[in-house]
Every structure is written in C-alpha cells, then in structure tokens.
Symmetry: C2
Subunit: 247 residues, 2 copies
DNA sequence: CGGTTCATTGAGCCACATCAAGAAGTGTGG
DNA sequence: CCACACTTCTTGATGTGGCTCAATGAACCG
C-alpha cells in the first residue's frame, strides 16, 4: 500500500496477533489494509459519547482509553479499561452505549461501521476472534462486578494493581516474572477512583496504606513498584494458590 | 425424531426465536435436534461449580439461574441472572468461571462442549447469534457495574426491579404496557442481596421503604406490583426521558 | 513566580454492615 | 388439625468503612 505514509502495513502492526484480525491470513489482511484508517487522539480527548452515533468500529493500536458512564448528578463509573488490541464499538449497534475517553495518547485503527459488519459476516476468522475477545471482555466485566459489589477499598486497589500487572505481563509474553513487578499507572487518581467505584480521597488513602504496609512502593504517584505480587494478590482477596501455584 | 419422548422438537421450542439457534433454518435445526439433550434441575440445585470442568454448553429452556462467585470468606456476588434463552458455558473454555445455581426449577437444552464448538465453527448462523447475545450480555454486565459501583441501596433495588420488568416485557413482545407492572421475584432475599451487592437486611429495608413511598406494593414478599414503572425508574436514577419518552 | 492541576491528609458524618431479636410463612409428624 | 421445627423475611440497635468537606502539599507551566 503506497497510499498513506502514516498508516503502517498490517503485517508490521504491533497488535497483529492480538486484535480482531489476529487469526486472519495474508489475503484477509489485504482486504483490511484497504478498508482501514488511522486516527490519533491526544490524552484526555473524548473518543465517543454515550448515546451518540459511532461511525467506526475501532481497535486500539497504542495508548489507553476508558469506557465509562456518567449519571446526571455527576457520579461516574468506568466499566472497562481499554488497552492496545482492545476494540471500541459494537457491531450491530450504531450508537455508543458508553463514553470513551483517551487516557493517554491513543491511536486507533478504524473501519466504517457498515464495512466492518460486512467483514465480520464474510470472514469467519474475524467473527471467531471477535467472539473470543468479547467472551474475554464479558468475563473481565463479571470479575470486576465481584470487586465492585463485595470488596473493600483496600482490596479494590490491590485487585486493580494485580490485574494490571497480569495484563501487562500477558501482553509481553512472560507469564510470571516472579514476585517483582513495576508499572506506570495510565490513569489519574480520578479515573482510577471512577474505575474502583471509590472517591479520589479513599483511593489515595488506600495507596498510602499499601505503601505503609510495604506492599507497594511509589517513586512518583503514577509509578508503582510491587516487590511481591503474590502478597499484593493476597491483599486483593485471592487464595494463595490462584495463579502463582508454582511457588 | 422418535428417540426421546421427553425432548420437544426444536421447531416447537418455546425459545426457538431467542436462543443461540434463533437464526437457524430448518436444515440447521435438524442437526441441532440430533445433538441436543435435555436436563432438568430442581430449584436450589447447583448446575456448575466455579473452577470445575463443564461438560456441556447449555441454553436455559425454562426457569431461572444465577451466575455467581464466592470468596473464601463467604462473601458472594451474583454476576448474572440467567433466564429462558440465556446460555451457560463458554465455547473455548473447559472450565466454568462461575458457580451456576438453579433458582427455580431449570430445564436446559445441552450440547457436548466439543460438539457445540464444531457447530459454532461450521454454522455462521449460530456463531453470529452467539456473538450478538454475548455482546448483549457484555453490555448488561457493564450496566450492572455502574449500579454496583455508584448507586445507593435504594437505587440498586429500584434498578433491579426496573430491569426485571424490562426483560419480562421484552420477552413477551409488548414493549411498554404503560405505567403498571406486576412480577414474581424469582430470587430469595439472599440471592437478591447477592446480586445487588448488599446485605439481606439492607435489601429488605429498601423494599420496605419503596413500599412505604408507594413505589411498589408487595402482596407477598415474592410478589411485587409496580403501579408506576416510570416513577420506579426515576428512583433508580434514570433521567425522565430514558425509555418512556413517549409520555 | 503566581496560577493551575493533581495528589495527599485530616476531621466529622452518614449509609450500609453487623449483631440480635422477632414475625411470618412452610412443612412434618402426631 | 394442631404443635413444632425450620426457613425466610422483617425490624431494631449499634458500629464502622468510606464519603464529604476542607486544607495543604507537590508538580507543571506560561
């Protein structure tokens, strides 16, 4: 494709093996190549509005976005944290059910809605991958419902950090680097609180408490070092065997 | 099919047009017909256990079941309420992520897991419907996350009753009977509390409060009459236009 | 260097949890 | 048909985790 200098080829795409196109072969990718367009949003930009039409189905190539809903009185709840390879939009619906906001700078790989729906129908590899990803999202949403419905503030923070570490290390292939981990929070305290179903203040206090107890270290508010992920997972309410059974 | 007297034909199935088979034609149904088996569980029975293998992919033909997870210390959160035409199990996973419990007597239409996965791959009509249903479930799970994360006890109860009324009237075709509604709670107070992320006591108190305020009437604890669904929806935190805009 | 945004910390209060007791409904056996 | 046990639901009294309100600190930026 000589067309647009700024759009990289699918075969060189960083999320080639994780996005809806993961199972596509070279021929199928060529079709996607022609239909796709890129768009980049700055940090803080709103990508979609709840209740408003959504022209594209899009995949996050890089960056981080939140999926949230705001009640009239201002209460907001984030219902999904979207990272690279996650998708935005719903085949079959013209209207976005949630607000989508770029948390860091976000680059999307987009398809016109009608075009994408045709692609889904005609390409079992896309339909299959889309189903698999949606089932994963459904499990993630349900898991998070347990956190929101039953866990204490401390457990919520610990759960979130634990799940971030897991996503991070899953993305990078290494399944368990062992005890230690370090991560950069993509979210502000406000976005974090909205995700946890807490206030900024409570979230901050729990971060302080976890630091005091030696479960995390915070060189800066956004940077978090976890000396022992197992201990943090236990603080998140997980039984000691859950995923670090090997130790 | 002369095989089993107790299994009704797909064409006569009460959930024919709502389940994963909804888009199938007569030929495809014939294939399902041969592969399916029925099983009925009494109220209270556990259909699947979190972390345990799940041999079948199943659809609820009749009855009501809950999808839940229990933490070691006994805290339980229901993450899904399954009614007729909803499915149980996850194509591609051999292990159940949640506990599934029959709330009322439940009849399932089941397929061996491997058989069903083959059917999904070979039948676009099934794959498509499964995707669509999963996307709906995902939206429902995310909507419920907003309730669990940000709503007061009163709003949670009102939200739940409102959503039950909506599902009921959607299932029966009539989109909005107007203001009035009556329903029989499929859940005990305990199961209800587990779904709302509250205690039994708080749930009961909120029911009492809603009755006191004239938003509901309760001839018996399980039977609920809603004289004005719009008013209840507003108590659930919905802006007055949301779905009863026509008034 | 003031203004702005973001994060932390403190003090007090309130919604919901917990603990405890009754009330109402349901089933069983005499 | 009633007595008794058992489960389910309701109501009351008290405690507490997280929210609210308010101030301060830290980082960034024009």
């Amino acid at each position: 494709m000589t067309g647009d200098r700024s759009i990289p080829a699918c075969l060189a795409c960083p999320i080639r093996h994780n996005a809806v196109c993961a199972q596509c072969d070279a021929t199928e990718l060529a079709v996607l190549e022609r239909a796709k367009s890129y768009r980049t949003y700055p940090a803080g930009a709103q990508i979609a509005f709840a209740g408003e039409p959504l022209r594209h189905f899009a995949t996050i190539v890089s960056g981080c976005a939140t999926l949230s809903r705001t009640l009239e009185d201002g209460r907001r709840q984030t219902v999904g944290l979207l990272l690279a390879s996650d998708y935005i939009g719903r085949p079959g619906r013209a209207v976005s059910a949630y607000d989508v906001q770029a948390v860091s700078e976000v680059t999307l790989c987009r398809f016109e809605r009608a075009t994408f729906e045709r692609l889904v129908r005609q390409t079992p590899h896309i339909a299959g991958r889309l189903l698999s990803m949606t089932l994963d999202e459904l499990d993630a949403a349900r898991d998070w419902a347990v956190v929101l419905g039953r866990m204490t503030a401390r457990e919520r923070v610990a759960s979130f950090l634990t799940s971030l570490v897991r996503r991070e290390s899953a993305r990078q292939g290494r399944s368990g680097t062992g005890a230690e981990a370090e991560l950069v929070l993509p979210l502000t305290r406000e976005a974090l609180a909205d995700h946890l179903g807490l206030t900024i203040e409570t979230t901050s206090r729990q971060m302080t408490a976890l630091r005091r107890d030696g479960l995390i270290q915070t060189p800066s508010p956004r940077q978090i070092r976890i000396p022992d992920t197992g201990r943090l997972a236990r603080a998140a309410g997980e039984e000691p065997d859950a995923s670090a059974a090997a130790l």
